[in-house]
């Protein structure tokens, strides 16, 4: 039941209305609301029950194994929340003077330094508010760099066909034409195609390493040399940073600019698209263009760096300085781990992924790239089951829900048919991984013996199999008040 459907006219709770309402007199009359907003009129207890019930219907990392992994959100240690919610942080006004916010500014400065160190970049700006905004900042800086060199004939950004959809979207937003580079059978970038596609028109390449295929791009040095040799720059999509944290630095691979998803790799909570944090890191040649504000430190005092200190900056991306709470959580997460703990994240993420992949391969499942070692994630393909049994990746994903597992990513990357992209992350126990393997084996047995059972899954959840075609064709997500007759 929707909360609007529980609404009764005039059921209002005066106790919840603020007593000191500020009188606003300077707003033009035409902008003032003539009628009260159409909010549901429900009691406090009804509201509590409604949202508690909704949360109980949810699959989440707090309740279930969640093999979407860091791609969506990995486990958020509770200690980070506790510390980020200290009243001194929570009550700080963003316009508060620098001398009254030295502790907060110090945390952000340290976070900049930690991210520089772990990625091997020269400078970092924390201000982008999400991965996509980090990408926008990154490619805007590439453009600013070429423009500053009067090198204005570069019109193309290269993107491998295994890339995240945000990469071509970002390049297009920044006014570039996207040229797609194919992937070879081993899962690496096709170097011959890359060589043919590069030239004086190349502004740069956007690359994820490890790639979305869950493998480390072995030819990264050659790719960097090819693109740099024609004057293009290398952009690192940080979506899969979890696999190499503290082990390999994008800066050492030859990348010029990188964005990091703190809400993924540095474990901060985000749901339904926000709030996130997508800091950007750059090497020396892109440093002048970083978005502002950043935090500077002269050995005594932390200060905001803005237009005066960074005159060539691409500018501001948000009011104030990104999502303060997310940045603080990421800082605390990094400090709790320390340098040593950070490389353990990569080790255990990779170990868990390879353990799960090996167990599933032993159980008879097909891997998309059987000859390659997995990174923090791997791809299983159900193409054989689809062809022989008519059982698809969606059927497996839906049936997993009945067994108490959130479904992994399905049908991505696009170049692998009927795929499940499985990322267990570093925090899952061996028991949880073994239970997942057992469930997959049981589902395969069901596919062999009672395939119709799978077609109707899930059976145990508050919502059964949705008609995703109807949902996409006839989108209806807004509640509208019915006219009473």
């Amino acid at each position: 039941m929707l909360i609007f459907e529980q609404s009764m006219p005039k059921r209002q709770n005066a106790a919840q209305i603020p007593i000191s309402r500020a009188e606003i007199t300077d707003l033009p009359k035409r902008f003032l609301r003539q009628q009260p907003p159409a909010l549901p009129e429900v009691s406090e207890l009804q509201t509590v029950r409604h949202y508690t019930r909704l949360s109980q219907k949810n699959f989440s990392i707090d309740t279930h194994f969640y093999p979407l992994g860091s791609c969506t959100m990995k486990y958020n240690p509770r200690g980070c929340n506790t510390l980020a919610m200290l009243p001194e942080f929570l009550a700080r006004h963003p316009y508060g003077p620098e001398n009254l916010g030295q502790g907060y500014l110090g945390c952000l400065y340290d976070l900049q330094e930690i991210l520089k160190d772990v990625t091997g970049m020269t400078a970092v700006s924390l201000t982008p508010m999400a991965g996509a905004q980090g990408e926008l900042a990154g490619v805007t800086m590439i453009r600013a760099y070429h423009d500053a060199n009067n090198d204005t004939d570069r019109t193309e950004i290269l993107v491998p066909d295994a890339a995240h959809g945000t990469n071509p979207a970002t390049a297009t937003m920044c006014g570039y034409t996207v040229k797609e580079i194919p992937t070879n059978k081993e899962g690496d970038v096709d170097l011959e195609a890359l060589k043919q596609a590069t030239g004086p028109q190349t502004a740069g390449i956007m690359l994820t390493n490890p790639s979305t295929l869950g493998i480390f791009e072995r030819e990264i040095k050659t790719i960097a040399d090819i693109v740099h040799s024609v004057g293009g720059l290398l952009y690192y999509d940080g979506a899969n940073l979890n696999a190499i944290l503290g082990k390999v630095k994008p800066g050492d691979m030859g990348f010029d600019v990188i964005h990091m998803n703190l809400h993924k790799t540095f474990s901060t909570p985000h749901g339904g698209g926000g709030p996130g944090a997508g800091p950007v890191g750059v090497n020396k040649r892109l440093q002048p263009f970083l978005p502002i504000p950043m935090v500077g430190f002269d050995g005594k005092k932390y200060t905001w760096l803005s237009e005066t200190e960074v005159p060539q900056s691409i500018g501001r991306l948000s009011a104030f300085m990104g999502n303060a709470g997310v940045l603080l959580r990421a800082y605390i997460y990094a400090r709790l781990l320390g340098r040593e703990g950070m490389s353990r994240v990569a080790e255990f993420a990779t170990l868990n992924s390879n353990y799960l992949m090996t167990k599933l391969a032993d159980a008879g499942f097909d891997m998309a790239l059987p000859s390659r070692r997995a990174t923090h994630e791997f791809i299983l393909t159900l193409k054989r089951q689809a062809q022989q049994q008519g059982i698809t990746a969606v059927d497996f994903a839906k049936r997993l829900l009945d067994y108490g597992f959130h479904a992994p990513t399905t049908y991505f990357p696009l170049i692998v048919p009927e795929c499940l992209l499985i990322e267990p992350t570093e925090t899952e126990s061996k028991q949880a991984l073994d239970q997942f393997v057992d469930a997959m084996i049981k589902i395969q047995k069901e596919a062999d013996e009672t395939p119709d059972l799978l077609k109707g899954a899930p059976y145990t959840l508050p919502v059964r199999r949705l008609d995703d075609v109807k949902a996409a064709r006839e989108v209806d997500i807004a509640w509208k008040k019915k006219n009473k007759t």
Binding site: Q387, Y411, L414, P417, D468, V469, A472, R473
Partner: protein, 131 residues
């Protein structure tokens, strides 16, 4: 097995091309492609009078699984588009070679059609795909 009519031309990227008597070409996506993509939920066709080079992405077919670009098979100018697809994208699934057509195009160079695949050539492409 998917249907590959003999009287059509094809591309590696799964478009089909029919030569009309007035010199225009009708273009759509193949039965094989619609089968891989699954149920269509949205089709974006190009603007009439727009010009494209061969290989340009000029339309989008979006299914519950993925959004895919449709590439212009030969250079030319768009003369007509299938407006009915806005309300009934499922025609691409139900009748890919008939009512599910996407757009018509007047080729800049009619000889370019000879560079396209015939039904046999396209069958080979599909066979490679399903390995």
């Amino acid at each position: 097995m998917s249907n590959v009519p003999d009287n059509l031309k094809y591309t590696k990227t799964h478009e089909w091309i029919r030569q009309e008597s007035d010199g225009t070409l009708t273009i759509g996506v193949t039965d094989h492609a619609q089968g891989l993509l699954g149920d269509m939920v949205f089709v974006e066709v190009p603007d009439v009078d727009a010009n494209f080079n061969s290989g340009d992405d000029c339309a989008v077919v979006e299914s519950v699984k993925a959004a895919s670009d449709v590439y212009c098979p030969v250079s030319g100018e768009i003369t007509e588009t299938n407006e009915a697809l806005a309300d009934t994208p499922e025609m691409v699934n139900n009748d890919p070679f008939g009512d599910g057509w996407l757009f018509k195009l007047r080729p800049t160079d009619p000889n370019e059609i000879s560079t396209l695949l015939d039904a046999n050539g396209y069958q080979e492409i599909i066979a490679e795909d399903s390995h």
